[in-house]
């Protein structure tokens, strides 16, 4: 199968047309490393082993596109800078990442004044312990070297998928609504939750400023142009911070930059991938007017059958949960896969995937993945 065959099948599914089979999406992450027989620390810190794990996963399971191609857990970079936010426990096979908030609650005016300078001189300053002191210059060079090595390692994997394995990238451009920066990188879940109630106007103003400095108007224009031939989508995003927002906050703060890029994608006749943690049903009407054939939406905790009723215009990816893939039999998994095709993709608009970022060994049994993949290949 060529890369173009996979793109064509995925596009047909997203456009509610007959793809001749059910295309598939991998939402497998560090599970790949464990399945390859490596310890988590080996697969994350040794880039040759990471390459082997990710490419080996495709050779074994053969998905049509991947949410993860080694591009997560840049621990070597953050260690070189001295931020030490991760801890890997190889015995328990878990990665512990601390919910961190290096930005203080009264610093929104500084963020609004100049986001780039503020991020580097205040937040990174607090996190990067090795960029202080007499050896700061050498540690900085080491950190930059690790950043370049990380880019080279993930680039090597992407090139192997496109050129050798004939698998498309999800996209070549990724962006997130600016509040995600504050949520995931600056204030943390608890901090932003409090800010949305205590200093809402400042949060809103910061997001309006970040919409400009993060280049959303330019992205909205760029996605009107041709899609890169090696990618399924012109753009991808991930929704996370909506999980702590009410409808008013979502409408005023989260949605405007997302709407901006969706309008660009629609104008260009292109496609958009939305990966959505937590649940989204309460915001579903925001997507109700998007034309059919534009968005592949990957829900996590929603009832996907309810989402289908709410959004007949949106293609959905996902559906198979770790409860099935990790704990049930092959037959039960295939029966549920049939139910998903019937209930969500009867008229097209469905790509089989997983409801969670598959991380732990018990999230899936290899034989269950293979059984669902075989069903999808043969499903007309």
């Amino acid at each position: 199968m060529t890369l173009q065959d996979r793109v064509d099948a995925l596009h047909k599914a997203i456009e509610f047309k007959d793809a001749g089979r059910i295309p598939t999406n991998s939402n497998y992450w560090t599970w790949m490393i464990l399945d390859a027989g490596y310890k988590l620390s080996e697969g994350i810190l040794d880039y040759d082993k990471l390459f082997d794990a990710v490419t080996g996963f495709h050779k074994k399971y053969d998905f049509d596109f991947y949410n993860y191609l080694g591009n997560r857990n840049p621990i070597r970079v953050s260690n070189a800078a001295g931020s030490y936010l991760y801890e890997i426990d190889d015995d328990k096979e878990i990665i512990f990442v601390k919910d961190h908030g290096f930005m203080k609650e009264d610093e929104y005016p500084q963020l609004i004044e100049n986001p780039d300078i503020y991020q580097w001189t205040v937040i990174v300053n607090r996190a990067a312990t090795r960029l202080h002191g007499e050896n700061a210059d050498e540690h900085f060079k080491e950190t930059v070297g690790e950043m370049l090595a990380y880019g080279a390692a993930t680039g090597r994997i992407a090139n192997a998928f496109v050129n050798d394995l004939q698998v498309p990238l999800a996209s070549k451009t990724r962006c997130q609504s600016p509040i995600e920066l504050i949520f995931s990188y600056y204030r943390g879940i608890r901090g932003l939750s409090l800010d949305l109630r205590r200093r809402y106007e400042l949060v809103k103003e910061a997001c309006e400023k970040l919409t400009i400095t993060q280049g959303f108007p330019g992205i909205a224009k760029a996605v009107q142009g041709p899609r890169p031939a090696e990618a399924v989508f012109s753009l991808e995003t991930a929704f996370l911070a909506h999980s702590i927002m009410n409808r008013k906050q979502f409408e005023e703060v989260y949605w405007p930059p997302v709407k901006m890029v969706i309008d660009g994608i629609v104008a260009g006749g292109n496609k958009f991938n939305i990966f959505c943690e937590s649940e989204f049903l309460r915001f579903a009407d925001f997507l109700a007017d998007v034309p059919k054939g534009v968005i592949l939406f990957e829900p996590e905790e929603d009832d996907i059958f309810e989402l289908r009723k709410a959004l007949p215009n949106i293609a959905f990816g996902g559906g198979m949960s770790p409860d099935y893939l990790g704990r049930r039999t092959k037959e039960e998994c295939v029966d549920y896969a049939k139910k998903l095709v019937e209930g969500v993709g009867r008229d097209g608009g469905f790509v089989m995937g997983q409801t969670k970022m598959m991380t732990y060994r018990n999230d899936a049994k290899p034989e269950n993945i293979l059984a669902v993949q075989e069903f999808c290949r043969n499903c007309k």
Binding site: Y84, I88, H100, V124, R126, T129, H132, V144
Partner: protein, 58 residues
């Protein structure tokens, strides 16, 4: 007890008093100068620092 990576967790507050590459305003400019020596193109330096910052905070 499993093998733990990386070093023990750091939750302290850095001092601004020691020479460093992340203080304002000298650190930002000095970091850009070092990027010059490493070979990062002028046009991409601020974007690189922003991405590097996010990676450090990730």
């Amino acid at each position: 007890m499993g093998v733990k990576h990386p070093l023990p967790f750091f939750r302290g507050e850095n001092t601004m008093e020691t020479p460093n590459l992340v203080n304002d305003p000298e650190g930002y400019e000095k970091a850009k100068e070092l990027l010059d020596k490493i070979g990062i193109p002028e046009a991409g330096k601020e974007g690189f620092l922003f991405g590097l910052g996010l990676t450090i905070l990730y």
